[in-house]
């Protein structure tokens, strides 16, 4: 038996819209292909917190879904902040990205708190930013995805974006050409698509960080079939990226 890696899917019941469960599938499958044993914890509100968590994935939700999980999220906020401070890799998409920020101010001026893991805040607007998007990152190269959000997110000093976008009207707020946020090993982003299938470098970064945190080194224990299958997935992702990058917004 290989080494176990504990993966948490955060609120899959209410925050799983727009195919974000694809990210969970990719992490589990790639972990298995690297020769590890993924253990999935689907954490929904009211569930027990597992003893071990090596990697956390969160997705987008409808407004009703976000409202449902908020209380539980605050109950777990200290733990999440501790894990983030301790270097646990996390990927938070869209709605969970906003909730991991400092606050969300609605169009009506009401202020909803986030848990403040990411130095970012979001202001609601009527206009929705929707469409195919390519952003550029030093660490991950071009990141390919699809954004769909109405909130404008602004980063505090010291919070790095995940990437930079080329055009006004896209990215975090449509103005400063940033997209997403990174603090330590926590990534927040608006990119759906799902994100990880077409951006395996980010998936591997999360996996590698989780494995090193837990076992001190990243040493895959793979069969040649598993290596071949990973190469196949990456070749398919490369083709899909090429097409996606040319599609209209």
């Amino acid at each position: 038996m290989g080494k176990v890696i504990d993966v948490m899917s955060l609120y899959p019941k209410d925050m799983n819209i727009y195919g974000d469960s694809g990210n969970v599938l990719v992490v589990l499958r790639r972990l298995a292909l690297y020769g590890f044993e993924p253990r999935l914890h689907a954490y929904n509100q009211g569930d027990d917190w597992p003893e071990q968590v090596d990697l956390i994935l969160g997705g987008g939700g409808q407004d009703t879904g976000q409202a449902k999980i908020t209380d539980d999220l605050f109950r777990r906020a200290d733990r999440l902040r501790d894990l983030a401070a301790g270097g646990t890799p996390m990927l938070m998409i869209c709605g969970m990205f906003q909730l991991f920020g400092e606050y969300f101010e609605t169009v009506g001026g009401e202020r909803l708190d986030g848990i403040g893991v990411l130095g970012a805040y979001t202001v609601g607007q009527e206009h929705r930013m929707i469409g195919n998007l390519v952003e550029h990152s030093d660490d991950f190269g071009d990141i390919i995805g699809y954004e769909n959000h109405s909130g404008q997110t602004f980063l505090r000093e010291g919070t790095l974006p995940l990437g930079r976008v080329d055009h006004d009207g896209t990215g975090n707020n449509g103005e400063d050409h940033t997209e997403g946020a990174r603090v330590g090993n926590v990534i927040g982003t608006y990119m759906h698509g799902s994100l990880l299938p077409k951006n395996p470098k980010i998936a591997d970064h999360l996996i590698r960080t989780a494995v090193i945190n837990r076992y001190g080194e990243f040493e895959p224990d793979q069969t040649s079939e598993q290596m071949f299958e990973l190469a196949r997935l990456d070749a398919l992702a490369e083709e899909a990226r090429k097409v996606a990058a040319t599609r209209p917004r």
């Binding site: 176990v4 899917s9 899959p12 019941k13 209410d14 799983n16 819209i17 727009y18 195919g19 974000d20 469960s21 694809g22 969970v24 599938l25 990719v26 589990l28 499958r29 972990l31 298995a32 044993e37 993924p38 253990r39 999935l40 914890h41 689907a42 954490y43 929904n44 009211g46 569930d47 027990d48 597992p50 409808q62 407004d63 009703t64 449902k68 929705r128 929707i130 469409g131 195919n132 699809y146 769909n148 759906h192 698509g193 799902s194 299938p197 077409k198 196949r232 997935l233 398919l236 992702a237 083709e239 899909a240 090429k242 097409v243 996606a244 599609r247 209209p248 917004r249």
Partner: protein
């Protein structure tokens, strides 16, 4: 055309409410419609524009509709308002086209004169264009009833102009969220339709977001339901149960069954498969027999109520036959449709046809109304005009009587005559093999199709485009569990997003033989291989149009007809 559509769409969404909620006005009464001086000329002008635009091969089918909307905004309401039995509006995320076709086909089979909008033109302007084709120069429409399919957002736009006498609301599912926002919002759009309906609202009992709309239907109108027997509900997991690959595999782990992601058991903490909390009610567990337990909050709050009596219940499906329960009696019927999903649409169609029958029976016999006319109070007020018409039109009276008193045998015969709509399980014979075209537009539709058409013994092709009409976002492919295709694999993947689809299948460990973005050559190659072996082609909307065009080069493909 797509750009116009967006504009109108936004208008409909942001506008929100329907025009008033006034209860018992005549069906089809215009809401604030003006009748310009030139209204009498509208049919002639519209027809000329239509003729000219066809001649010039320009503007598409909606162009004449646009011209008429500008010169005579009341045309739609005025023309449809004259129909003796009013308008049946069909809306919902999945199954609109199939169900509209069924309702229209059945009503026509039972002797009524039916106007319906052609496949795909499910927006107001498309309806206007279709009307222009049918109206006489005097503005008359030779029909007893109109059956109209409308996209959720356009339905709101439509009911502001024409209040339907019947509304058939099918379901709300995640579809093209980039267009409507969220499913709760889509449900609100359909709520406006329920509010505007003057006669009978027919609702899907098994979809909580739809069944809940009963509360919005105004006093004096009727609500009827169509439903599923408990054991068929497993084919229709709620959209809130995200039956994704991860959820299904994790559920398998929890049950100790085989799975292939390498997920290890987690001492009962395997949350994806755990519903947690108290055991759900009996029908809920039936519903979840094959689904995951994700999203059980909806069950806690909004369990579809078995106590709601359904007018028509689908209770059994077999190879080209179906069983329904109606009025406490069950009946088997032969059907040309396949797939439990299509047959559930037939239950919906039966329910709305029965509602129309009930009204037709009331007015089938010409009546001399004397006295105080109290019979026309309340809901019946809308039939005053019909009663008058019936008095002077014995042919109409005959049609209504024939239709109104048609028994369930005649209804089932009408059901058995319905053929699948364009691309909704439609079968085309190519090289001696049946090629079945399956339109997929959203995760739930894709899941239902995969469940309805087992892949064994077939070659499978999947064609995914990302044009505006298909939805640009590929995220939805990750919400579909494709593992049922593992045993057979997929022979061909194509469309603009062929590589996205191939990547999706690879992560589900489904073997793909060939992938390529050149749709036409992929289709030609796919149907040429394994002559005589039946085939399934799953395709998105614009992919469907191109697949059909390509197949038409190889064999005789019927035009996208309406009715039967």
């Amino acid at each position: 055309m797509m750009v116009e559509k967006t504009t109108e769409n936004k208008d409909a969404v942001s506008g929100g409410g329907t025009a008033g909620n006034g209860g018992n006005g005549d069906a089809g009464r215009t809401v604030g419609a003006r009748r310009p001086w030139n209204a009498g000329l509208t049919p002639a002008i519209g027809k000329t524009v239509r003729w000219a635009s066809r001649l010039l091969h320009h503007g598409g089918s909606a162009f004449p509709g646009r011209v008429v909307e500008q010169i005579d905004p009341g045309f739609l309401a005025r023309t449809l308002g004259r129909l003796p039995l009013g308008v049946v509006l069909v809306s919902g995320t999945n199954g609109k086209t199939t169900t509209t076709r069924m309702v229209a086909s059945m009503l026509a089979d039972l002797g009524l004169k039916v106007f319906t909008n052609p496949t795909g033109s499910n927006f107001t302007r498309g309806v206007v264009s279709a009307l222009l084709e049918q109206v006489t120069l005097g503005g008359g429409l030779d029909a007893d009833i109109a059956v109209l399919e409308l996209d959720e957002a356009y339905a709101v736009h439509f009911v502001r102009q024409v209040r339907p006498r019947y509304a058939l609301l099918l379901n709300v599912m995640r579809d093209q969220l980039d267009r409507f926002g969220e499913i709760d919002n889509t449900a609100r759009l359909l709520g406006h339709v329920a509010e505007a309906t003057t006669g009978t609202v027919v609702l899907n009992r098994e979809d909580p977001r739809i069944a809940r709309l009963a509360g919005l239907s105004p006093d004096g109108t009727d609500v009827r339901y169509f439903g599923l027997s408990a054991d068929l509900r497993r084919f229709f997991p709620s959209d809130d149960d995200m039956a994704t690959t991860v959820a299904e595999e994790a559920a398998s782990v929890a049950k100790g069954a085989a799975q292939s992601l390498g997920i290890v058991e987690d001492d009962g903490q395997m949350g994806v498969g755990q519903s947690g909390g108290a055991a759900p009610a009996q029908s809920a567990s039936a519903r979840h027999a094959s689904g995951s337990a994700l999203g059980d909050d909806l069950l806690d709050d909004d369990l579809p109520d078995d106590d709601l009596p359904a007018d028509v219940t689908l209770i059994g499906v077999g190879d080209h036959h179906a069983s329904f329960a109606i009025d406490g009696r069950t009946a088997d019927t032969a059907v040309k449709l396949e797939g439990v999903y299509n047959l559930y649409n037939a239950a919906a169609a039966l329910a709305v046809v029965r509602a129309v029958q009930l009204d037709a029976r009331h007015w089938a016999v010409p009546m001399v109304c004397g006295g105080d006319g109290s019979i026309f109070e309340g809901r019946n007020a809308q039939f005053r005009e019909l009663a008058v018409k019936v008095q002077y039109d014995s042919a109409l009276s005959d049609r209504l009587r024939h239709f109104g008193y048609a028994g369930s045998d005649a209804l089932f015969t009408a059901v058995s005559h319905v053929t699948p709509a364009f691309g909704r399980g439609e079968t085309i014979t190519v090289n001696g093999a049946d090629v079945q075209l399956l339109l997929v537009k959203n995760p739930m539709g894709f899941r239902l199709s995969l469940g309805s058409f087992p892949p064994d013994g077939h070659d499978t092709m999947i064609v995914i485009n990302d044009e505006y009409a298909d939805g640009r976002d590929m995220s939805w492919l990750w919400d579909v569990d494709f593992t049922s295709l593992r045993p057979t694999g997929v022979a061909m993947v194509s469309g603009t997003r062929a590589w996205d689809m191939a990547l999706r299948l690879e992560y589900d460990q489904v073997k793909v033989d060939q992938t390529g973005t050149d749709l036409e050559s992929a289709v030609a190659r796919f149907v040429k291989e394994h002559p005589g072996r039946p085939k399934h082609i799953y395709c998105t909307y614009t992919a469907m149009l191109r697949v059909r065009a390509e197949l038409a080069k190889l064999t005789d493909v019927a035009d996208a007809g309406v009715g039967r």
